[in-house]
């Protein structure tokens, strides 16, 4: 029988439709994988089940009974436990308190039952015995843990709910292989005991290893549900990206050697700092240098450090021929360096403000402006936005009224009014739609043709292979391999990324 059934669940945030039509049926004793590209609505769907997002419409059945989930507490009462992708931990509480936070054991009705708390924590910590890593204990504050350890605590917390129905929204993104193995053993055991499990991951090998069925979501709509045994990864990916799937990756391959534009735009020698060590490379004018490898191997840290927003312990950076050691982003911008982050909401978007104010800050700084005359600015801003086919109603609408892809275009347009010499792209296409990606890469290649030196880190191999002249593969904070010319293949990239991991 079905443990959980969703039909036609929808959710809109203002004008943005996060989930158009979510359908899902979860059986007892199965691991049901949810797949879809970033922003397709998977997390929204999970949060609706877990009660932390209120659906606009649709039906939810638990054990074939229609239910209304009025909040996280009500979800727990209906036997639903969840691992949140962004974690739901109290950083200044101990591991044991966090594990039981949803239902703290009490004695005499008001006091915390410490011994029960400890026992319960020991039970779930024990499941991960040997893979928790150094410094992990029941009384450590969660804020003092490493990211992978925090993720383990969130897993333990979800398990401690002992809910018949468990949701894991990207639980493995920071875990190492041993931790993932152990986690999968636990999941298999839960499966045997008849729990229903919803599982989200982007790693195809993990999905193959643990999943029974897969439901594919695209643009907020459930496309289909398949048996994983009856399908292959390529088919799943085709379903995920839809008809447009062939567009960006299969563009004519970029030349391995750039025609002589004269000299290096950016030179980095033996750079070490927090998160990376002994990184050296050179980017020529007109060249696009790719950074590849698994997520979080130091690529972002290097780019941020160059931009003056990270720490540098030793090493040397040159832009053109002159030494470049930006004390902060302001300094870096003044000296012709540009940085675009994929984490728009954290690093880029000035939320709640008009589009025009989101395009102009770099211009203000580089032209040392004091007065902001809308008429005059409009003439500078409009061409920058148009060069990427940005869609907007007016420059004075809030940036929040745009889709994610268009917001990112606005952020990039910032750098086009006064051209930089070096452009650092830190996974710039995270969570944006395919047509926006295509516009973006067309622009990047045009900028390179105009003589900018560009560094592109992307978590999507296809973007690197389709746009980079050379690719440096990062592993554990340093460059493990350089792929040039005909070596730039998906296979080599994949192999280099997983080599030592």
């Amino acid at each position: 029988m079905s443990k959980l059934k969703l039909s036609g669940v929808s959710k809109a945030y203002g004008a943005t439709l996060a989930l158009r039509r979510g359908d899902l049926e979860l059986m007892a004793g199965e691991v049901h994988v949810l797949m879809g590209s970033n922003g397709s609505g998977k997390s929204t769907l999970c949060k609706i089940i877990a009660g932390s997002v209120r659906p606009d419409g649709g039906k939810i059945l638990v054990d074939d009974q229609p239910v209304t989930i009025s909040g996280p507490r009500s979800a727990r009462a209906h036997g639903i436990g969840i691992f949140y992708q962004e974690l739901s931990l109290a950083a200044r509480r101990s591991v044991e308190e966090n594990i039981s936070l949803g239902k703290l054991p009490v004695k005499s009705r008001v006091f915390i039952d410490r011994s029960e708390l400890r026992q319960r924590a020991a039970r779930y910590i024990g499941l991960f015995d040997g893979v928790c890593g150094e410094g992990f204990s029941a009384d450590t504050l969660v804020g003092n843990l490493r990211p992978d350890q925090r993720q383990l605590v969130e897993i333990m917390k979800a398990l401690a709910s002992e809910a018949p129905l468990l949701i894991f929204d990207e639980p493995t993104s920071a875990l190492d292989r041993a931790q993932v193995e152990r986690f999968f053993e636990i999941l298999r055991d839960l499966k045997r005991r008849g729990r229903g499990i919803i599982f989200i991951s982007h790693r195809m090998d993990e999905i193959k290893a643990i999943g029974d069925r897969v439901t594919i979501i695209r643009d907020g709509e459930t496309i289909t549900t398949l048996n994983l045994d009856d399908t292959d990864p390529a088919a799943v990916i085709r379903l995920m990206v839809g008809g447009a799937g062939d567009m960006p990756a299969s563009q004519s391959s970029v030349p391995a050697v750039v025609e002589g534009k004269g000299g290096a735009a950016l030179t980095v020698r033996d750079l070490s700092g927090r998160g990376f060590r002994n990184v050296s490379f050179e980017v020529g004018r007109g060249e696009i240098l790719g950074f590849g490898g698994l997520h979080g191997q130091g690529q972002s840290a290097v780019l941020r450090a160059i931009f003056g927003a990270g720490s540098i312990a030793s090493g040397e950076i040159l832009i053109g021929d002159s030494r470049f050691d930006a004390a902060n982003p302001r300094d870096a911008i003044r000296r012709g360096c540009a940085y675009v982050s994929g984490d728009r909401s954290r690093d880029g978007v000035i939320s709640g403000r008009p589009i025009i104010e989101n395009v102009t800050p770099i211009h203000y700084l580089r032209d040392r402006l004091l007065i902001a005359r809308p008429g005059k600015l409009r003439d500078r801003v409009a061409p920058a936005l148009e060069s990427m086919h940005t869609k907007f109603a007016s420059l004075f609408h809030p940036i929040g009224s745009l889709s994610g892809g268009n917001q990112q275009k606005v952020i990039i347009a910032r750098w086009l009014i006064d051209r930089p010499d070096v452009l650092l792209l830190d996974d710039p296409t995270k969570g944006i739609d395919l047509s926006a990606k295509a516009d973006l890469f067309a622009l990047i290649r045009q900028l390179a043709a105009e003589g900018l030196g560009i560094v592109l880190y992307s978590s999507e191999d296809a973007e690197l292979l389709g746009n980079a002249n050379r690719i440096l593969v990062f592993n554990g904070g340093s460059v493990s391999r350089e792929l040039t010319g005909a070596d730039r293949t998906r296979y080599n990239l994949y192999q280099a990324a997983y080599e030592a991991a």
Partner: protein, 330 residues
């Protein structure tokens, strides 16, 4: 795998850091000890039992008010009406005690009503801030005006005396030991018991990350309301002490004390953003304010400079409190 190598320093290992993490009020304790020494240095008499009793009976109300404030700060809220609640309970119990004749029965009945009044005020604050989602700073300022108005209604001008039974007990001795020490002992026990309750952990979890607490299934709104109710109750207790100390009713007595209670909480190393702190720290913070005032006096500071030096000293220890608290949390 790689994360270990790439991002090495997530745990702090320093002994001081560990110690601060476990006992965040240590800096406040050191400051209190230093101030006591200074007091003793400038005026040896100030360390006598008699002088310390005086200090305690004067600042016991602020100590309680600081503790009251701590429980709302735990959850990331603030209560600017705590002083007004204190005033209201002060005049209410004084008027009731007088009306009922000032006997032991009247005193206890009045105190019980005072506690209920504090509870009701806290409940109003909690409903307004947590249930109606008004901004804590402005909403509790508005309720403070309301409570002050109510206090003025109960007793329009300061001056009604408290019954002798009440203030003699507060300022007197029991079995040879000054009564305020019993209060202090009872308070320490009460606070220790409180710290083991589920509510305190929930308050701290809510203050740590409200959204996460909600997603975890904690009753966030109820928890915050309970925090304000606790604050109201402890403000009422503070009112009992101020009544014992001043032996009279004054509808404006607590007005100035609110901001001091906030300062005491910060001095104790608690984070105003919530999720981190100790009640003991606030207790020490309130004592710090009292001791600063007395050191400045005993130092022989010219009278016109005393307020300034006090203000400056408090600003400096406030900054120290914030910096030490951050060090403990980093």
């Amino acid at each position: 795998m790689a994360e270990t190598a790439t991002v090495p320093t997530y745990r702090r290992t320093g002994g001081i850091g560990r110690l601060l993490e476990r006992y965040p009020f240590l800096p406040a304790l050191v400051i209190v000890a230093a101030l006591l020494l200074l007091n003793g240095f400038f005026s040896p008499n100030s360390l006598t039992l008699r002088a310390l009793t005086g200090l305690l009976s004067t600042y016991m109300a602020l100590i309680l008010l600081a503790i009251a404030q701590t429980y709302v700060v735990y959850a990331g809220d603030i209560d600017l009406s705590a002083g007004a609640i204190l005033s209201l309970v002060n005049v209410a119990i004084v008027v009731l005690m007088e009306r009922w004749g000032g006997g032991a029965g009247a005193v206890f009945l009045a105190l019980a009503i005072g506690l209920l009044l504090g509870l009701a005020c806290g409940l109003v604050n909690g409903l307004v801030v947590a249930a109606l989602r008004l901004q804590a700073i402005v909403a509790t300022f508005a309720t403070s005006i309301f409570f002050t108005g109510f206090a003025l209604y109960v007793l329009p001008v300061a001056g009604t005396p408290a019954p002798a039974l009440f203030w003699r007990t507060y300022g007197g001795r029991l079995f040879g030991v000054p009564f305020v020490f019993y209060i202090l002992a009872a308070l320490v026990i009460l606070v220790a018991v409180m710290s083991r309750t589920r509510l305190v952990t929930q308050l701290l979890a809510v203050g740590d990350d409200q959204q996460a607490a909600y997603q975890t299934g904690l009753p966030v709104i109820t928890t915050r309301i309970k925090g304000y109710v606790l604050c109201g109750l402890f403000s009422a207790l503070a009112a009992f002490c101020i009544t014992g100390d001043t032996a009279s009713g004054d509808p404006l007595v607590g007005g100035k004390m609110t901001l001091y209670s906030v300062a005491a909480v910060v001095l104790g190393g608690s984070a105003l953003s919530g999720g981190w702190g100790t009640v003991v720290g606030s207790l020490l913070g309130a004592l710090t304010i009292g001791l600063i005032n007395s050191v400045v006096f005993f130092m022989g500071t010219p009278s016109e400079w005393q307020n300034f030096v006090q203000g400056l000293a408090i600003l400096l220890v406030l900054m120290a409190g914030v910096l030490a608290g951050r060090r403990a949390r980093s």
